[in-house]
Every structure is written in C-alpha cells, then in structure tokens.
C-alpha cells in the first residue's frame, strides 16, 4: 500500500488511527504490529510470511545473543542472524542477478527463478540487522516482548521506504511514548508537506520523465531536461515519502531520524551524501565502514573500505550493473575529493555547487537507466552522441509546460521556503499568519492531493523496488 493512495488515506489510516486512539496503552504496539502486517499484506499477501519469519529470527537471535553475552556463542548467534537475514535478502533480491551473470560468464543456461521482490525487504532487513548487531554490541538490551519488536519492524510509516529507523533510536519510545496535541499537529503538517511533495511535484516530474523515455524525439536539450527533472523527481519522491513517514511516526508518538537535509545545496559530493538518504548512509557507516576500520587504517585499506561501502550502497539499490556502477561512481568521486579536490571545492561556493549538481545529475541518469546500455546511451545523448538534434518541439513543449513545476521544485529543494517560514515566525504578525494558515495549508494539501489521486493513476513510488 502506498501512502499516496485513496485506500491508505481514506480507509487504512482512519481505521488505524481510530483503533490506536481507543486502544489502551498496553495494546497500542499490538495495534501498530497488526496494522503494519495488514499494510504489508495489502501489497504482498504471500510475503507476510517472510516478514513474520524475519521478525521471529530477529527476536529469537536477539534473546540468544543477550543470553550468551560474553561467550563465543553470542557472536555465533549474531553471525547466524545476519546470515539468515541477508540470505533472505540475497535470495529474493539478487539470486537472478547472480544466475544471469553466471550464465553470461560460463555460457550455461541455468533458468532464472523470477522471484517477485518482497516490498521493502531491503529496508526492513537492514532494520533487523541493526537490532541484532546493536544487541550484540550491548548498545541496546534485547527486546523481551515480541510484539514490541514486531511493532518496530512492521511499523507502517517507515516499513517499505524508510527512513531506516534504528532500533536504538526508538527503543525507549516503543516502551513508553507520549501523544500530545502538538505532536499530532506537527505530524499532520509534516505528512502534508510530504504528501504535497510526492503528489503535486514528484508525480508531475515523473510524467515528464516517462514522456522522455517513450519518445524517439530525444534531443540533447531533452536529455538534459530529463536528467534535471529526474534528479528533482527522485528527491521530491523519496524525501516526500520520508516526510510522510516522519509525520505519521510523530502522530503515533515516535521521533524518526531525518532522512534528507537539502542535498542539492551541497558544496561537495561528500557533503551531498551527508544530506541524502541519511539513514542509509549512517547505516553503512556504522555497520560496514567503521567495523572495517573506517579511515583509521592504511591508505590502501581505507580505499578498500570506501569502495566496499559504495559497492554495497549501489547494490542495495538494485540488482543490476547500473546500480553497482552508480555506487562505484560515488566511491571514485569521494576518493578524489578526499585525496585532493576537497580543499579546492571550499574556495568557491558557486563553482563547487555547480560541480556537485552536474555530477549528481549524471549519477541519477545512471541510476534510473534500465541497465548500463541505456545509461551509456543517455549520458552520450546529453553530450550530443546519438541524440536526435540539439532542440526539438517536444523538448520546448515540455520545458514550457513544466517550467513552473521545475522552478517550484528547484526552489523547494533548497532551504529557502523553510527560511522564509522561520523568519515569519520571528515576527508577531508573521506568527499569527502562520497560525491561521496552518489548518488552511493542511486542508488545501489534502483536497488538492485527493483531487490528483482521484483524477489520475500515475502514482508509482520509485523506492518500492528497493
């Protein structure tokens, strides 16, 4: 189920909110667990079993790791837990990729398994891994109550698309959390911000990108328009979803970590990755990069660590070579910045931002390609190789039709709107205006987005496939 759907907004959410509101404190996590399972089953009824197995594996191994803390068995159980979780992820997400490449390398014809990818498996697998590893490290106690652990893993606001909420971040709130009018208000506003970003901006830009992909009139200018539009689309799509998740979490009394912090204003690629999909970046830092030694090792090992993390980051996003290349592309850029470019980037705010935007736009062309062949074709097209001329009618039409949305998206991707609201709040009159406009904003977004949902069916969510 998508947040940005009639079924979620007008059936699932009201039902869960009602049940949650009337449930006594001791049963609120049960409501979250059951609603999370229904939310998941709505899209993949069969794969609820996989979800339940993952929860039980996490629960049992968490207890065993804690019980045998101090002995080798604790490590064995931690490794077993990691193997089971990663095994499920590899089986469902990567097995066909491995078979296909094995076939290509050996000339064999092992049939592909063609297994449907359980929605959100990459996200919840990482959450379970963080739990068992944190228990092993002694950062958090094992959760004795399977309902609480289940509620954490299946919590529908962040179940299928993150942020990758760490168990340690919500452990206390799982036991005891406060529900206040202010939190509910903040949650609603945040949800509406994300809802608007997703429905009004991301979907519109998604249409532009789809239109580009299906036309033969791919001019150089249209390649660039597509690349820029997709870069904005993926930001508004993903950060919008994260906003909705954080807002919903707030309504249910949780504080989820931020997942985006205006990445497109970054002055280096290194900074970009501190601002983009932060929960994933931090996960890889804490569970892969630092355990491998981080930067406190020899240069060669440091490089190994960087390339390993970025190989895995790319591969996490999808079982295809373009995702691996996408990850390694960042490994190269980050290495170059660490070695010498970083200090030069600090000298010019403008040039450094142009540099980042250029490289990020290119990266998302690789990311969104249907394989490396298309990635090479598109990047070549951006520089005139294989393009159908420089300009064309279709490019001009799309540019003029989406001009305002592109401008709104470009401005909205910066902290300018937040800054304006912040400045308004500082004055008495401005604060009063915001007070009046808050319910109006919520109502307008709900009505407008409902209108778009009722009218259209173009509503895919990119991160579903991860």
């Amino acid at each position: 189920m998508l947040f940005s759907s009639i079924s979620f907004l007008y059936f699932f959410l009201p039902a869960v909110l009602l049940l949650y509101a009337v449930a006594p404190k001791g049963l609120k996590n049960t409501v979250l667990l059951l609603s999370g399972l229904i939310f998941y089953a709505w899209g993949e009824p069969r794969y609820v079993v996989i979800m339940v197995i993952s929860i039980l594996v996490g629960y049992v191994f968490g207890l065993l790791i804690e019980k045998f803390r101090g002995s080798k068995l604790s490590k064995v159980f931690m490794i077993l837990s990691v193997c089971v979780d990663l095994g499920l992820l590899v089986y469902f997400k990567y097995v066909d990729f491995f078979i296909e490449n094995f076939n290509n390398a050996t000339g064999l014809g092992i049939p592909l398994l063609r297994i449907a990818l359980p929605i959100g498996i990459s996200f919840y697998t990482f959450q379970i891994l963080s739990y068992t590893v944190d228990v092993y490290r002694g950062d958090v106690p094992a959760q004795k109550n399977p309902v609480n652990l289940g509620a954490y893993i299946t919590m529908f606001p962040q179940l299928i698309a993150g942020p990758i909420v760490r168990y340690s971040d919500v452990e206390k709130e799982l036991r005891d959390r406060k529900h206040t009018l202010q939190k509910t208000y903040e949650g609603i506003i945040r949800f509406c911000v994300g809802f608007g970003k997703k429905i009004l901006i991301a979907n519109a830009l998604g249409e532009l990108c789809e239109g580009f992909k299906t036309t033969d009139e791919k001019t150089v200018a249209f390649y660039w328009l597509y690349a820029v539009a997709f870069s904005l689309h993926i930001y508004f799509d993903f950060s919008g979803y994260s906003d909705m998740a954080i807002g919903l979490g707030r309504i249910f009394g949780f504080t989820f970590m931020e997942n985006f912090n205006y990445p497109y204003i970054s002055k280096s690629v290194t900074e970009f990755w501190r601002r983009w999909h932060m929960s994933l970046g931090q996960w890889f830092r804490d569970y892969v990069y630092i355990p491998m030694g981080g930067n406190r090792v020899s240069t060669l090992k440091h490089l190994r660590n960087i390339f390993t993390v970025w190989f895995l980051t790319g591969f996490w996003h999808g079982a295809d070579w373009n995702f691996i290349v996408w990850g390694l592309y960042f490994a190269v850029l980050l290495t170059i910045e660490k070695m010498f470019l970083g200090k030069y980037l600090k000298k010019s705010k403008v040039l450094s931002r142009v540099y980042v935007l250029f490289l990020i736009v290119i990266s998302f062309v690789i990311f969104n390609a249907a394989g490396m062949g298309e990635a090479i074709q598109y990047i070549g097209g951006m520089f005139g190789i294989g393009a159908n001329g420089l300009f064309g009618d279709l490019w001009l039409y799309n540019l003029s039709s989406y001009a305002l949305i592109l401008v709104i998206a470009a401005v909205g991707a910066t902290p300018v709107p937040k800054y304006i609201v912040g400045r308004l709040k500082e004055t008495k009159a401005g604060d009063a205006v915001i007070s009046v406009l808050s319910p109006v904003f919520a109502a307008v977004i709900i009505v407008l987005c409902t209108a778009y949902l009722v009218d259209g069916s173009f509503n895919p969510f990119l991160y579903f496939r991860f």
Partner: protein, 369 residues
C-alpha cells in the same frame, strides 16, 4: 494559547476532511457509470478469502477507490484548474484550451500507424475493389489541432506531410484535399468533431470531385439542449457549451437508413433523435457508432452508389452527400472486420469508394480491424 488553537484547528480540519470523506465513501451508493467521462466506473470488489489471499481484492480495490470516491467530478475539476492555473501546465491529461477550443494533443506523427492504415485500405482494395469499376478516392480530415495547436505553442504535426504520407500508401486512390476549406471555427469548441452546418462546402467538393451532383439547399435545425462535447467533461473545466445544429432537406427527409450493427437489419432515421437524450449528441448523426449503415435515396435522379469507409467524422458528412447518390453504404472498420465485408457491402455496384478518415484515427489506426 494561540499555539493550542492552531494545533486544534489543524487537527480538527484534517481529521474532518479525512474521516468525513471516509464516512461518505462508505455510506454512498456505488456509481456504476460516469456520464462525464462516458465510461463504466470500477466497482469495489466483493470480499472473499481467495480474493484477499491472491491479492486480487487489493488490486481491484486500489483501482476502484478513485472511481468511487465521493464528488469525483468535482475533484477532477479541482485537479484540472490546479494544473492549469496553479502549476501553469499547458495541458491536463493531454487536453488543452486554445482559442476558445478544448482539444487533445495528438503528437507525434506515427509512421507505423499510417503504414497500418495503408495496409488495411490496400487489403480492402485488393480483396473487394481491384476487379470492380469503382473509382477510389481518399481524403484526410484534419483534426482541429491543425488549426489551433502550433499557433498557441502546442504540439502538432504537419497536416500536409501527414496527408502526403497517407497518399503514398494508396497508389490506387485519388486524394481529395479538403484542408483549404476548413478552419478552427468549423469544429465544435468542446468536441473533436466538425460541425455539420459548416462542412457543406467540404461535402460539395467531395461530391463534385467524385463526379456526383450536389444539392446544397439545407434547412438548419437546432437541438434545444446544449452539446457537451467529449472534451468538455474529460477536461473538468467549465467552458461554454456548444450548440448542436443538424441539416435537413427534402432529399434527406426522404431517405431511409438501415443499420447492420448486430447482423440484423435495423431501420433508423438519418438523424436519430433517440440519441439526443444520451450523453453524446453527436450520435444523432446516423445513430453514432455503427459498423455498416446503408442510406437509400428514393429521390435520386440516377442510380449511383457510394461506399464510404469512414470514422465518426463521416457520420455527419454522409447525409450531405446523399443528394448525389441513390445509395451510400457507410462502413466503419473499427466495428467490423475488413475480411468479412463481402456479406454486408455491395462492392460490385459501387460507382465510387471514398476512404474518409481523420488524422486522429489514422494516427491511431490500430483500432481498425
């Protein structure tokens, strides 16, 4: 205190909207058909264990919930206005407004579709017409985008190039150019079609080009009800409606129409006023979508027969041509396969055959059977 009011107001407004529409949705009767969109709406599925387990229930629910949402038409209008006036989009679901006309983007020119249409017409020629004495003609009806799109910054292909490509596919046929006789004013503002009262000159050119006589004395008749064209409701925008005028004459009044839509012969008038009660007033012309219609003119001065292969543009044109013919057989190969025409169409006695199709259909000719 002020913050508390803000919190309460926001929560109450949001909850009222969401819970209010949820309640309304659950209590309202299902809507089976959308008059505005002219289509059957998806209905919420029946709940069953098997349907849930297979995921069928959920996917059908996802499809049906936007269709069954309360105030669907109002929400579609809100979206249309937001798209145009807030986000400054040039079109909404490919429908745009230019020069007071609602129209739909038709772009790009699809060579494979032109090829397909050419193959269909060639098949008909080879199978039924090659060995007859019938003269073969074709014309391409420009859709109104040819007059309003490019001038207003919308995408449109070159009509001349389109007609030329089509003509190249039909070496057995003579092309009749009607483009110079048409302008945007000759089309309904809310519909794709041309106005019958404005195409008398087109009918005259076609008739005379095919060697038939043409009587251009017509009486204008206006329907009382406004004409909401196909784009009116699709657009969701509130624009002025059209008026529906149809032309009669003594010759047309004396004609009989026999439809062969269901395999059986059904007598119908030239202007089917029962259709004036329906959603699409344009269907009064030859009863709308019919596979084969035969118009017979008992007042014809000589026996002269025309076979007209056409799309819906031909429905309003055919009555204007009848004065020059004793019989016009009107064929729509979207509703009957080209391979089975010999049973219902008399090609042997045809003096002329005219392929009359709009750019819209030719550019999406996959609908032809």
């Amino acid at each position: 205190m002020k913050d508390k009011i803000k919190y309460i107001a926001t929560v109450v407004v949001s909850a009222s909207l969401i819970f209010g529409f949820t309640g309304w949705f659950m209590l309202k009767e299902p809507t089976e058909y959308s008059e505005s969109e002219r289509r059957a709406l998806s209905l919420l599925p029946d709940l069953s264990f098997e349907a849930v387990l297979s995921g069928k229930y959920m996917s059908e629910f996802e499809n049906a919930s936007p269709d069954q949402f309360p105030l669907r038409d109002l929400f579609r209008s809100i979206k249309a206005y937001a798209s145009e006036y807030i986000f400054n989009k040039k079109d909404n679901n490919k429908i745009f407004v230019a020069d007071g006309h609602l129209s739909k983007l038709e772009y790009p020119m699809k060579d494979d579709m032109i090829d397909y249409a050419g193959e269909k017409f060639s098949y008909i020629y080879d199978k039924y017409l090659k060995n007859t004495d019938a003269e073969i003609y074709h014309t391409v009806v420009p859709d109104k985008n040819c007059f309003i799109a490019k001038e207003n910054g919308y995408l449109a292909f070159d009509y001349g190039v389109f007609a030329e490509k089509m003509t190249e596919k039909l070496p057995f046929s003579e092309y009749i150019d009607i483009m110079p006789l048409l302008s945007a004013d000759d089309y309904y503002t809310t519909d794709t079609h041309w106005k019958q009262e404005n195409i008398v000159d087109v009918a005259k050119k076609l008739s005379t080009s095919m060697g038939a006589s043409f009587e251009d004395i017509f009486r204008e008749n206006k329907l009382e009800q406004p004409f909401y064209g196909v784009y009116y409701n699709q657009s969701g925008l509130k624009v002025p409606t059209d008026e529906m005028i149809y032309l009669t004459s003594d010759v047309i009044d004396g004609c009989t129409v026999t439809n062969y839509d269901t395999g059986k012969a059904v007598e119908k008038p030239v202007y089917d006023m029962s259709k004036a009660e329906g959603a699409d007033l344009y269907e009064i012309f030859l009863s709308g979508t019919v596979a084969v219609s035969v118009i017979e003119n008992p007042a014809a001065a000589e026996k002269k027969e025309l076979v007209l292969f056409r799309d819906s543009f031909g429905s309003s044109l055919a009555p204007l041509l009848i004065s020059g013919y004793s019989k016009i057989t009107v064929v729509d190969i979207r509703y009957i396969a080209s391979s089975v025409l010999s049973g219902v169409v008399d090609f042997e006695n045809a003096d002329s055959v005219l392929f009359l199709y709009s750019t819209v259909l030719l550019n999406n000719s996959v609908a032809m059977k």
